[in-house]
């Protein structure tokens, strides 16, 4: 788990502008401003930036009632899960995004790249062979991110719990927010799990 904790985001501060005394070579006095502006547009820096922008206009209490709820509202209504099918739960996962259940009405749109996702739905049996790939995908997703363990295999290993090749629960690898029981769970159960996750995001404070 050492790699997971090491992968927590670290807020970077822009380095001090180099001065003419530091370097023997002639350098521009202005720092690389465009790069820093792109950095501040990241989601994890939205809250400090918003607080800084609204700090002079609103009281502390009004900020607490406005900024964090607005951030949570935007996040929970545009959950993008990773389009990553592992086993038979992936069939139910696919059905949940079809015409009959239509998870897109909750703003849930599967994306093909982990860089565009904030929700990892582990839908199937995770073997030890694929475990480090799952961690890599999780680490490639931008913050803030959530994990749903879908089905008995991802929750606790399922019928393969004592097997030599199966991870007994995906929470041994990544932190899980919502567990969905079932073998496989119906699309309604997946939608229920997504709605519970939205409730969790709604109540998010820090």
């Amino acid at each position: 788990m050492g790699r997971l904790s090491a992968a927590k985001p670290v807020l970077t501060t822009p380095a001090a502008a180099p001065t003419a005394e530091d370097s023997p070579l002639p350098m521009a006095t202005e720092p690389a401003v465009p790069f820093i502006e792109i950095e501040t547009l990241r989601a994890r820096e939205f809250l400090p930036a918003a607080k800084e922008a609204l700090g002079s206009l609103l009281s502390e209490q009004a900020q607490g009632k406005l900024i964090r709820p607005m951030f949570n509202w935007a996040g929970r209504n545009s959950l993008f899960p990773l389009h990553w099918g592992l086993a038979c739960c992936a069939i139910e996962f696919a059905a949940a995004f079809g015409a009959r259940w239509d998870a897109e009405r909750f703003g849930v749109v599967p994306r093909s790249s982990p860089r565009q996702c904030d929700l990892l739905i582990v839908n199937g049996t995770v073997t030890w062979k694929v475990a480090h790939k799952l961690i890599t995908l999780y680490e490639q997703m931008p913050e803030p991110k959530w994990v749903i363990a879908m089905g008995n295999c991802a929750t606790g290993g399922g019928p393969f719990r004592t097997a030599y090749s199966v991870v007994p629960g995906v929470d041994k690898l990544v932190p899980v927010d919502v567990y969905i029981a079932g073998c496989p769970p119906r699309p309604e159960a997946l939608l229920d799990g997504i709605l519970r996750l939205e409730q969790l995001i709604k109540e998010r404070k820090e």
Partner: protein, 156 residues
Amino acid sequence: MEGEELSRRLVGKFPAVVVEPFRETAGRVRFPPEILLDLFREMRDGLGFDHLGQVGAIDWVEEREVFYTLWSDREKQYVFLSTRVPASAPHLESLTPVFSSANWHEREAWELVGIEFDHHPDLRPLLTPTGYEFHPLLRSFQLHEPEGLEVKVRDV
């Protein structure tokens, strides 16, 4: 290749092999492990069994059995071959010089049943993760409830 023909053509060259009829195949051949490469060259070049479909292994506690399935595209027939090595020294010559398709099959038989294939070009785990220390299809391997499991995932 009907009836006793396989037996007639093999036993003259390899007196140690035992050929017995088996269902609608050309037969089932048991052979000592020393003649493996010579026997399979004869099967391929002399008898026309040109496709190796399968290599597997079984743990019989005292000894381990390695079995092969060959297919003749000309005769449209299978033949099953098997040999036994002692469990104390489960060494067998690799078949990759004769049939290159034996490569991955032997990797699987090595990691699951622990047959050591000598002179194999690339004996790495195929199905189990890197660094996995057990041969899980051996009868001595114990399944266990994973309490207190320490998760170790190698760096990518």
